[in-house]
Each structure stands twice: as C-alpha cells, then as structure tokens.
Symmetry: C2
C-alpha cells in the first residue's frame, strides 16, 4: 500500500505507525475512517485512543498519547467525524498533547485543525506537522492531457458510496499478491489515511481537478498498475464534474464499474434514479476516451449485502450475462475475475 513509486503523485505523506483517535464514537459508521485504516493497514496501526470503554473497539491496543510516543508512533490520525461539525474541546487537548509529544497529526475533517488557535500554537511550538488532507496546499497543477507511461485502472460508479474505495483496495491487494507492481492511489480522506498519501479531489479547486489527478498517477514503469480510487458518478447532479475531472486526469486504461444491488435512487438526491448499468458503462467509456482512446471497462463490482447470497449470486450472473463482463462482490467473492481481465489487457 505504501507509495513505492512516484512520490510526486502525493500531496500528503503521512508517517506511520499511527495512533487512531476513536474518541467516544459509538458506531463503526461514525468511526469509518479509523475502521478502514485498521482493516486495510493493520501493520501501520499501533493503537487506538478511546475516551471511554463505551466507544467502539478496533481490536488494537488502547493507548494514550504519552504511551504512543514511547511506542514510536509517528502520527495521531483523526479517524472519526464530530457530531455537529464543531471540533470537540476534548479532541483539541488530545491533538495539542500529541503535537507536544512529538507526533504529527492527520485530519480529514471539513474544518481545518490548523485554524484552531490552541492547535496552531502547539504546532508552532512543537514544529510538528498538522496535515489537513481536505485542504490541499501548495501550487496546484492544470491538466495537460499528455499521455503518461504505466497502466491505470479507475473505479467509476452509478452513485456515490457504492464501494469504489473497497474495490480498488481489493484490486491493488490482489495484484500485489500475484507479484504485479501496483499502487493504490487515494482520492478521498479515508483512502488517503489508508494509503498514507493521496489527494482529496473533491476538495480541489475545480480548475485543477484533472491536473491534480494527473499528478496522482505520474509516469511509471510500463508494467506498473496505478489502482485509482473513484469519486461520485457522471450521473450525480452535484458531483458529476468531480467524477469527470478525475476520469480525464486519470487517463485510465481500464475502468471498473461499481454499484449496489437493490439501490434504486441516488443516495440523498430526491427524484434521481440510479442509472442503467450499461448506460453508465457506455458513458464513462465514451468520456474517458478523450484522454485515453484505448480505455475499456473490465468488470462490474457490486455491493450485494442487501440481498441474501443466493439472490445476490443470481443477480451477479445476470449482470455478467448482460454486460459481457465479470461481475463480482469484492467482499463476498473477491475481485480475481476482474484482475484476470486487467492482466489480459
């Protein structure tokens, strides 16, 4: 998962090992970033910091900041979302203590930690980094459309929150297991925390989305795969522009279409139906050809968890028959048939 190649591709490099702030999060959903990091980067997670025994347990050692510093932890990671959007005072104390104990701090919150006076002061005094991954800093890059070396696969989707991150992480892991050089390229905050690097494309000024996506998967060895986390959907009335900029900048050789069985309406967008899967494949391929005329969709990945296994299996067979593509559920079936197609390209 660690970026072996093209460090230029990343805006943030988050030093491991991590202490994951769980705080008083009561559900896996509230702590989904921490849960994702513990699942996909267990070797990078030294411990969790819970404010009480009522908080969810990631199954890693409980630690306070002082113990983490003694254990060689490099980064306190804010793996939860605050209810109400404001930064709780208990977090501020934890964050300033971490900085003063010599840890960096990484946050994917929609508020900038560095804007809090006490955190800013602790940062200045400690000289440590505060990485607000939703606030990319430094000069942004305009897209050029110039072809890059190496191979790229991008997850696209019928909607938001249909498993694009999980699918690409699974593909990256499967490629590595086969001895293929591969990097997961993160485009959202949870993915960035898992990878330790990446760019939140939806937090980038719109003019620069394609250019920053180009930066994320730079020139690489001809047989190397960049496995790029997707965002949004070309059929989403709020976010299609983000998806298109990422599609163009990624210059994907291969697309994996992601969906959820049983979802009929776009999440949180009244009046918008989930598009037809084949329409969605066709439109993504058409739009992607602008920057890579050879692009092709190599498979469909669905979240089938709403259906009992037998119904899910039947639905996936039907999708495979209709599209002529392998259809998998990364959780239930794994992604090997898609990886087979990728390596046959």
């Amino acid at each position: 998962m660690v970026q072996e190649n093209g460090s230029d591709g990343a805006r943030f490099q988050i030093p491991a090992p991590y202490l994951l702030l769980v705080g008083d999060a009561q559900s896996r959903l509230a702590a989904k970033t921490a849960v994702g990091v513990a699942h996909w980067r267990p070797e990078a997670v030294a411990g969790q910091l819970r404010f009480s025994k009522d908080a969810i347990d990631l199954g890693v050692p409980d630690m306070d900041v002082a113990a983490a510093a003694r254990a060689g932890v490099r980064t306190l990671m804010i793996g939860i979302a605050p209810s109400g959007g404001r930064l709780p005072e208990a977090w501020v104390d934890t964050i300033t203590s971490a900085l003063r104990a010599g840890l960096d701090v990484a946050s994917g919150l929609h508020v900038r930690l560095a804007d809090h006076p006490a955190i800013a002061a602790a940062q200045r005094e400690s000289g440590r980094q505060v990485m607000d991954v939703r606030f990319p800093s430094g000069p942004l890059r305009i897209g050029t459309g110039a072809r890059r070396s190496g191979k790229r696969v991008l997850a696209v989707g019928v909607d938001c929150a249909v498993g694009k991150m999980f699918t690409t992480l699974a593909i990256d892991r499967a490629l590595r297991a086969r001895g293929v050089k591969s990097d997961f390229r993160a485009t959202g905050q949870t993915g960035i925390f898992i990878a330790g690097a990446g760019i939140c494309v939806d937090a980038v000024i719109s003019d620069f989305v394609a250019g920053e996506a180009e930066r994320l998967s730079p020139d690489n060895a001809p047989e190397h795969w960049d496995v790029i986390e997707g965002q949004g959907s070309l059929f989403h009335p709020a976010y299609a522009g983000v998806s298109l900029g990422l599609l163009h900048g990624s210059q994907a050789d291969a697309l994996v279409m992601c969906g959820e069985l049983g979802r009929e309406h776009l999440h949180g967008v009244p009046g918008y139906r989930v598009p037809d899967l084949q329409d969605c494949i066709d439109l993504n391929q058409r739009m992607a050809r602008l920057t890579n005329p050879d692009v092709r969709c190599v498979g469909v990945a669905v979240n089938s968890s709403r259906l009992p296994p037998s119904e899910a299996e039947a639905a996936m067979h039907a999708i495979a028959a209709a599209t002529g593509l392998p259809c998998v559920d990364p959780v239930r079936t794994g992604v090997e048939p898609i990886v087979d197609r990728l390596l046959a390209l």
Copy 2:
C-alpha cells in the same frame, strides 16, 4: 445587466460607478477585463486610471483616486493582469489610496489582494470592501438537482475562449431590447465585473460547482430568462469537469454552442483537436438532460473573425444546414436568430 432578480444568486455585488485601473497596460488583451467592462457597462464606468499616456485608452475620462472619490465613484476595479503574476507596488499604493478615499476595490487576479499586508491594513482602517472575485468566501452550496422555476440558457463550447461571454451578453441585451425580462449570469471574472455580480465557477472547490451554479440562477418568474455565461468545454482535458458541473447546476432549457471558425486544435493543449460541432452539441445535450430532460440546443454562435466576410458567411450557412440550427457571429451578424428560437421554446 444589473441583477434585478434573485440577488441570492450572486456571491459578489460590486457597487457602481467604477474607476477602471488600466495602469500601464499596453494592449487591449492585457486590459481585456477593463475593455469588456467599458464596452458592456458604459453607464457604470466613470473613468480610467492610467499610469502614463502610453497605456491604452478606453475612451473614458482619466481620473486619479481623489477625483474619482469626489465624482462619486464607488469601486476601483482591477481591470488588468500583472505581468509575472506579482502585484506591482504601484498598484498597491493605488489600491490603499482608493480604500482610504472611501472606495471599495474589486479584483479578479489569481493573487488575493487581501493577503497583502498594506492592503489588509488599509481595508481594516477604512472599513471598505476588498472583493477578490476569484476567492469565493462564505458557505458553499452542494447541488440538489431540484428543478427551479424560470427559464435558462447556457453557452457551451468546443473549447475555451470561443466567445461564450460575448454571446451571452449579446443575447441578454437582445432579450431586454425586446422587452423580455432577462439577467446575464456571470461565471468568470470579466463577466462578474461587467455584471457587477456572479461567481467564478472555476475558482470554486470542485464539490460545490454544481451547487454554486444552482445558486447563480435561482427560482424566478416563469417568463424570466437567466442567460448564463459558459466555461470551458466537455472536450477539454483540463476543464471538462468545470463545464459539466456548470451544465448540471444551470439546468438549462436551452444551450447555445460556441466555436471559432478556423480553429483546429484546442488552445494550449497539444495533441487535442477541436471536436466535431455536431458531436459537441449531442454530448452537451445528452449530459444536460440529467438535470433538465427538455433541454435543447437552439443555435450556434461562432467567432468568424479569422475569415473574410464572404468565406465566413458561407461557412455559417454550411453549419446552419448541417445542424438545422441558426448560426450567427455575435459581432458580425448579431444574435437575433438565436433569440427568435429561444422565445419560440
């Protein structure tokens, strides 16, 4: 041109009359924003501020800041781009003097005036506004895709810089001349200076482009037209995402396709040809249908200035015959045939 309706639609409201800073700009291109404002809002322009007689002359009275203040000018408008990107010291003195004389200052530069210590100090002391229109502030809005009342026409294009702003300003003017209620909705810095309001969509964080475009043309009277300046092109490898977010958020009833006769390659993007006009019309209509299923393209507007008049006329006839749409050059022929189509919808 002034926003009569839906003031909620604008992020900036720039008080007129204006003093246009021309500085020592030697060409109409270097001063294109000032030139555009003088052309389209002559009634709002009280004067120009030139540092020497070598600078280009907009044909309006020369004034210094003190004279402008005495004449009732409300805003100093930075109508030029600095060479090298840095803010010249001579401008800083002019800007701080203007603030201290009671004027607001509006800038479309890629650097934030308010970041300059002397300008920030003058702003604090004077209590006047510094409007950096490329740095939208305040809470941004996520798109909803919900239909709005009133009618909308959006300029789209085969490339950047093909006359979308000019075309929409001409359509707005022609609608008003016919007694139709209309507002020009600006989406770039020059358009904002001309309208006195608007939003730089390419400066908006990508997540919010469609939502801010929705805000720009809010609910309105059923017979009212919002005439929305377009940006970029769906076929541009750097900016297509901006164009798509604007297309979805605008919810256009009508599209006007803009191009330039004789342009074969995208401006500044080696290896990318200008798309086929009909392909571009078809793709824009297809993508726009997501948020307005009734959208249709009502005409083609070209910049024909590279061709002699007889060749231009023949080329425009050929486009009209091939597309079945009126084809105009807003400068040479005006936009009346497109306005006829709009009003027939």
